[in-house]
């Protein structure tokens, strides 16, 4: 009975949302975007030269590739437990909390509802991953691979839900919460210990290995032996159907996968914690992020009348704002506000990925090239990651502030001023972080005698680095801000958007479009700078410095025009057009 109501609610919500999105397509801008999106899909997937090739009964990934995916899954699960924080898995909307929690619905039925609601994004991402992974070369039918991917994502989703419940019980009930979930924690601990033991045993051979291929071979062999083989079995079982080479392998792998899924379903439905309380806390946190920003009041109140204490953003307890004079350029206030937001939200957590990349590459380089080289490599990797990923990870600009559209529009600023200030709110902090990492790399290289070019070239790079970083960041962030301004009905707003492997398909598509736009915007300034340098017959360090400074200036000029156009679009934007 209740399940029917849940299915009805889910189905009608999806149908109405879809109808609303289709109605948007009457707007020529949205219609054009849909046409471009379809063309993009067509050329990426159907016109992909990999399609139509000879079919093979080989697993989709082998050796190092399998190891990489397995490691991603294991570390993803460990991150869920250690860093948790992703309470979105538990969060209900305010309406759901108000209607469902006081209704005669059991906790299990609520969990079932969450699972039903989670299916739409899972299915959408399954489709995208199917298109990415299944290039027509495999003997496994697409529907079978699709089922494998969907089951994999569903299990990951369940794991996220379950780990959130256990972590919440832990946080709310302390040692009692730990005791209640001893079994879950024991399983997690066994897996962690098994992985740690395997890695520990492999350290010495890894250090002595000659190259990357040898290291991969050592790790592949290590995970095939006890204890890793046993503790990682659930992970390999999960991956097997999605990456199977043919139907025989798929059918053989399915029981193991279903067993892991069944255990997860049982675990989530039986996790002994006050689900409503945990979900309400997550709902309240979500409401604070969304509703308070829109100024509709947050009313972290359950339908049963219980109030859930508002959880204060953690960083706010310590991070005090820096001073801002009451006179001066008014638009600086927007940058100041957004940097305060940057310092107080979970966005900083996003920096873990570039830091980890830097640490890993630094570690690998140290073993072959020495400590100084390792540190320099790590810092340069971090900087590169921040250049490429930073503008997508830090969202303290219009991607966050469009939720405050009504407030922004009452401020005495032109649209262009607001867009420029919002872009700089992310571009400047990013440039500072990147420049500091580069400076540290230069200092370490200098101290360790690492050769990074003649003094004149070093000076040229030092002089041009900051303008280049600033201009490039501004360009990237402008693209990121253009999307919510031009397509406010489609943009995902907020400092942190739902993540996880099961949501990565959308991210990959968006990244593809982002890099295409970035390349288009960079074409003109880079071309102009190259032409200018060759016309002036500059060579060596002078050419490098000139190229960097002239390219940055040309890009800044181009961006000025783009930001003016976006500013005009911002002025036409109305709160009703922003997605809910």
């Amino acid at each position: 009975m209740v399940t029917g109501a849940f299915v009805y609610l889910t189905w009608t919500s999806i149908r109405n949302r879809l109808a609303h999105q289709i109605r948007r397509a009457r707007n020529p801008r949205y219609a054009l975007a849909i046409i471009i999106g379809v063309a993009y899909f067509y050329f990426i997937f159907w016109r992909n030269p990999r399609h139509g090739g000879r079919t093979q009964a080989m697993p989709l990934i082998t050796g190092g590739g399998h190891l990489f995916v397995l490691a991603g899954l294991v570390f993803g699960a460990i991150a869920m437990w250690l860093f948790g924080g992703d309470s979105t898995a538990l969060a209900f909307t305010q309406a759901e909390a108000s209607f469902l929690f006081p209704a005669p619905v059991s906790r299990r039925q609520l969990v079932a509802y969450k699972l039903i609601r989670g299916q739409l994004p899972l299915l959408f991402n399954t489709l995208i991953w199917l298109l990415i992974l299944d290039a027509g070369q495999s003997a496994l039918p697409a529907w079978a691979r699709g089922i494998g991917i969907w089951l994999l994502f569903s299990t990951i989703y369940l794991h996220r839900l379950g780990s959130s419940l256990v972590r919440t019980a832990w946080a709310e009930h302390g040692s009692q919460g730990v005791r209640r979930n001893a079994l879950s924690l024991a399983v997690f601990a066994i897996v962690g210990i098994g992985v740690a033991v395997t890695l520990g045993r492999s350290l010495e051979p890894l250090r002595e290995a000659a190259n990357l291929d040898a290291r991969m071979a050592i790790l592949t062999a290590a995970v095939a032996q006890a204890p890793a083989r046993y503790v990682l079995w659930p992970f390999t079982a999960l991956l097997a159907p999605a990456f199977a080479g043919d139907m025989t392998a798929w059918v053989a792998a399915l029981p193991g996968m279903l067993a892991v899924l069944a255990v997860h379903v049982w675990w989530v439905l039986h996790t002994d914690t006050a689900f409503e309380e945990a979900a309400l806390a997550a709902t309240a946190a979500r409401a604070q992020k969304i509703e308070a920003l829109r100024g509709r009041g947050i009313g972290a109140l359950s339908g049963s009348g219980r109030t859930v204490p508002a959880r204060r953003p953690r960083a706010a307890r310590t991070a005090r704002g820096f001073p801002l004079a009451s006179t001066g350029r008014p638009a600086v206030a927007i940058v100041w506000k957004n940097i305060a937001c940057l310092r107080r939200t979970a966005q900083q957590r996003q920096l873990i990925t570039p830091v980890l990349l830097g640490v890993v590459t630094g570690f690998v380089s140290t073993s072959t090239l020495g400590a100084y080289h390792g540190v320099v490599t790590g810092l340069l990797t971090f900087t590169t990651a921040m250049i490429l990923m930073g503008p997508m990870m830090l969202r303290g600009d219009l991607r966050q502030d469009l939720q405050h559209l009504a407030e922004l529009k009452t401020l005495p600023f032109s649209g262009t001023t607001i867009v420029a200030a919002e872009v700089l709110s992310v571009a400047v902090p990013l440039a500072v972080i990147q420049a500091m990492a580069l400076l540290a790399a230069a200092l370490v290289a200098q101290a360790g005698g690492v050769d990074w070019g003649p003094p004149a070239m070093r000076l040229a790079i030092a002089a041009g680095a900051l303008p280049v970083l600033l201009a490039f960041n501004a360009c990237s962030v402008t693209i990121q801000n253009g999307a919510p301004i031009l397509f406010p009905g489609w943009a995902r707003l907020g400092t942190v958007v739902p993540g996880g492997v099961e949501m990565m398909g959308q991210m990959i598509l968006i990244m593809g479009l982002y890099f295409i736009l970035l390349a288009l915007l960079l074409l003109l300034p880079v071309g102009a700078a190259v032409v200018a340098m060759s016309t002036l017959h500059l060579t060596g360090a002078l050419a490098v410095a000139g190229l960097m400074v002239a390219g940055s200036a040309a890009l800044a000029l181009e961006l000025q025009g783009v930001i003016q156009l976006l500013g005009r679009a911002f002025e036409r934007l109305e709160p009703s057009s922003v997605s809910g």
Binding site: G297, R312, R344, A406, T410, E574
Partner: protein
């Protein structure tokens, strides 16, 4: 100070507001009243530049909102029914932000006084999420008043306030008007409108059904004579069938 001419706002083919014209001079308080869905919030949002009118014009302190929005907005403050606050700025930081946006040179003196007046002094370092509904409303009011606006637009300003806060808010609105601000006040609390407003604009279905002082409105519609403001409101907005005859 506030001049509105032929203001029309269409959503698709639906006219949320049609041909509204009114003026609010320095020291005047205009009460904007009407039933739910009459177009009050749309009107206020057009006045403050959140949405653009489909037709007509809005001028604040002599600056056209359509052509000179920055100067027009510099002269006004909007206090909405639900407080618009930045989640990640503390109470004190909200005032710092507003001070810089509007260039309030003496904010160092004015802000603490405002916070004291609104009983927020002990909440300086608190984020909005930790404030009660009424406190959040008070903070929005403090932000609105910090730069001493020439035009004050209020949408249900007493929502969420305790009785003491309501009284202080009424006094604050009256004081701002006495100091020369033009005030537009939208409220369903007709006793508040009666107490504070120097003239009324009654709208229904997006159209003005009455405009002027209460005396002027009653003079133009003799059947309204002798009725309370509530009865006048209900009769004007087409919901007066069940009302008793005038006393």
């Amino acid at each position: 100070m506030i001049s509105v001419r032929q203001l029309t706002k269409l959503y698709g083919d639906f006219p949320a507001v049609s041909n509204l014209s009114f003026d609010v001079g320095p020291g005047e308080v205009l009460g904007l009243v009407g039933p739910n869905g009459a177009g009050k919030t749309t009107t206020l949002r057009c006045l403050v530049g959140i949405i653009a009118p489909s037709q007509g014009s809005v001028a604040i302190a002599g600056h056209e909102m359509a052509t000179d929005p920055v100067e027009a907005k510099r002269s006004l403050a909007f206090i909405p029914d639900e407080p618009y606050l930045f989640e990640y700025l503390t109470v004190a930081e909200h005032l710092t932000f507003i001070a810089r946006v509007y260039g309030v040179a003496d904010a160092g003196l004015r802000a603490p006084a405002l916070l004291r007046e609104l009983e927020l002094s002990d909440k300086m370092d608190v984020l909005p999420a930790e404030l009660s509904r009424g406190m959040r409303q008070k903070l929005a009011i403090a932000c609105g008043l910090l730069h001493d606006p020439k035009a004050l637009i209020l949408d249900e300003p007493l929502t969420g306030l305790d009785p003491g806060g309501m009284r202080r808010m009424r006094n604050t609105i009256a004081a701002r008007a006495r100091e020369g601000a033009a005030v537009v006040l939208s409220s369903h609390l007709l006793h508040l409108v009666e107490e504070l407003c120097t003239k009324l604009l009654v709208i229904a279905h997006g159209q003005a059904v009455a405009y002027g002082t209460i005396e002027q409105i009653v003079a133009g519609r003799p059947e309204l004579r002798g009725h309370t403001l509530e009865e006048v409101f209900l009769m004007l907005t087409g919901d007066g069938a069940e009302h008793p005859p005038a006393a």
